[in-house]
Amino acid sequence: MIEVKSKSRIRDKFILYFVVLSCLPVLLLGIVSLSAVSVSHRQSVNDLEYQVILEKSKNIKNFFDNIQSTLAIKVETLDAEALSKSNSLWQTSFAEALLKENTSFLEVSFADLQGKEIVKKSKTNKNPDLLYITKSLQFQKAIRGEATISSVHTKISGQAVTIMVPVFVEGGVHNVVIAEVDLSPINKLMKGTVLGSSGYILLLDESGTVVAGESIGSFAPGYNLSNWERVSRTLVIGGRYHSPVKNVPVVGSGMSISNINWSIFVEWPISDADNLINEIRNKILFAVFLSIIVVLLLAPIISSRLVYPIRLLEKTSREIEKGDFEQKVEIKTGDELQELGESFNRMAVGLKRLQELKNEFVFIAAHELRAPVTAIKGYLSLLLEGDAGELPKRVRDFISPVKQSNDRLVTLVSDLLDVARSEAGQLGISVVASDIKAQINSIIKEVQPLLMEKYIILTYEPEPDLPLVFVDETRFKEVIMNLVSNSIKYGSNNGWIKITHVVKNDIVETIVADNGRGISEEDQKHLFQKFFRADDVKKTPIQGTGLGLFITKELVEKMGGTITVKSSLGKGAAFTVAFRRG
């Protein structure tokens, strides 16, 4: 499992782009769909309402047209002379016929020009009174030649209107025929109209009074709606408003019926009208929400999958950086990333080969150099020891630096050989339970001359019961020798070196501490790297290859131990090597 870092910018970018590029079209599509569907539905509802009111207003118009034409046509067939001699007989016949012909007529009467009813026939009264109606405004209009319809009469028995039509004979008004017309056919027509399951119609007369339609609370026939602003508008189709009639939001349409100046209103509660569209809307919203949720769930998964090969490459490159050239990247994406992985693996193989060549070169070079430099060392020693005769002082002065340089060269070659062997895995390590006290005492003996040169005091007082430690004796000695040599080399005159042990459970630590020049925190990070020497040390005459601590660490780790350092610049250093107790 690849460890996911807390910061993953490319993954976040992938998630962001994926979410935005996926959700934006979904949202846009959702908005467009919802809007389009809504607009289309609204138009359909409006069209339906318009159809209904058009049909109903036509029916109502026809109702009144039929009545007026019934009242108008028949009387015009007679002439004035015949009329004056008839003694109201023709009016009586006509009244009876008209009453019979039209089921809506409740009463038919004829009035003379003075306003006196001369004939009256009624369906509800066998002997109706003949009345005098000159003062009636409607009658006055009729004798001037205008057919009129009265305002609606709301009775217990139902709604009715009075229609007055002038009777023309030879171009002049001779009589006025008056019909009391029952509006129940219109009421039936209105009540029978249904839009959806709760739509309704209201028919209003010219004064804004409800004539017919479903009774809704106080909005019953007779209720006046003239104070409703919508009543005054001639034509309104598809308005969406909160209706005062049913106190719910409705889609409402209204139209004026021209010849009678009445208005017809259709209202369809939005909850009913939009029932189907709301279902569709909910489905669209569900699809949008679902799509977005899926995108949000998939986004991190997909982006993690996309980033995974990059992470793999990054992790493997870190391993290779540490020197592990055996690491390989397995990317099976079937695309450019797989090709990148394969290239990476080839590069690792190349780097490994390069490393091997370098190590081989270093080994061969060091190995080949070893013999000549050793020979040079030997001969120089012989020369300086006088085996070739007494050397003049001048010659001795020239040869001494040569010997010192050669000694350094011998050390360098030896170290290079050790490094090469270590990297090639040729360092022979044999870890056994060993008495490290003996090794350390041996080292102390060996370095006495060096200690005396710089008046450094080395103390070593191990516990008598110090346990055995799993080490390779030779290599352990080499490690401690290196640490002690460094303490002497980088220590100041009259300094001290202490070698102590600490036993912690099954670990035995050996600490080599001194009061030398110390190591800065920054230098401690690179201390065990190949060829590293601190800058402040480089400025001193103290010679070194920079390989000592690298080799020391290699040896310690190959023996299964650890090495650490604690130090501050100017305050000495303490190196701790820890191994398992035997």
Partner: protein
């Protein structure tokens, strides 16, 4: 992460907007219609959303033999018809209640003195003596039939209906008068309720929709007739109450 968080918030806001606004049609707000409270004819400051009628039986002192005991039972059905008619005309915006005065009131004068021997319907002038006496004895403090509860307007506008022994009918101010015989005789049976309602509506200020005019017959004979402005209940009463109505213009002047 910050960008992802911001994007997520914007996405949520977009979804909320889509849910609440996309494809949702705007609904115009409620248009409140002023509730209609009817009032006395052409008097907007005198509401009649509630009306209470106190019904009296008035007997001139010389007509006690003509009086009936079951005057309440006789009057009640016509009052019920009035209530029904009023409900339809005012579509529930005005409610009537009524009570009967417990005992008949015997007038201080004779029938002739009240000038009630008139079979035709006239205006208030002829009934004024009954109204005067009723006002004095029933409505004024100190009157022998005075009870402050009877004049109280707790149950709405108070009007008085007087069923009297005699002939005639009238309506004026808060009083409506109608002959008991108009409620009991078979000749009036068809339109008794209409007659009673007509007089009642005078107490609400409705004027008559007729006046006296002359009609000239073909032989030049001139006869006095009632000339109707409208055939509604205030113009013509000789129809069953189910078949009559109050003119739209009249209702408009009463606030409807």
């Amino acid at each position: 992460m910050k960008k992802i968080f911001v994007t997520f918030i914007l996405l949520i806001l977009a979804l909320v907007w889509v849910t609440l606004y996309a494809g949702i049609s705007r609904v115009e707000p409620t248009e409140k219609l002023e509730s209609k409270i009817p009032h006395i004819y052409e008097k907007e400051d005198m509401p009649i959303d509630k009306i209470s009628i106190l019904v009296y039986y008035f007997i001139p002192k010389d007509r006690l033999d003509d009086s009936i005991n079951n005057w309440k039972a006789v009057t009640d059905p016509h009052l019920q018809d009035l209530l029904k008619f009023h409900e339809v005309q005012f579509f529930g915006t005005s409610k009537i209640s009524y009570d009967f005065f417990p005992q008949p009131i015997v007038g201080e004068k004779t029938g002739a003195e009240y000038e009630t021997n008139i079979s035709e319907h006239y205006g208030s002038g002829e009934m004024s003596s009954i109204i005067e006496e009723m006002t004095k004895r029933v409505l004024s403090e100190g009157g022998d039939y005075y009870d402050p509860k009877d004049t109280s307007g707790e149950r709405g506008r108070r009007v008085y209906l007087v069923v009297f022994e005699g002939e005639g009918a009238a309506g004026s101010g808060d009083f409506g008068l109608i002959s008991r015989s108009y409620l009991t005789l078979s000749a009036y049976q068809t339109f008794s309720s209409t007659f009673l309602a007509h007089e009642f509506y005078h107490t609400l200020g409705l004027p008559d929709n007729y006046d006296e005019s002359s009609y000239v017959f073909g032989d030049s004979q001139q006869v006095s007739m009632l000339n109707l402005t409208s055939k509604d209940i205030m113009g013509y009463v000789r129809v069953p109450i189910e078949s009559t109505y109050i003119e739209r213009e009249t209702l408009q002047k009463m606030g409807l």
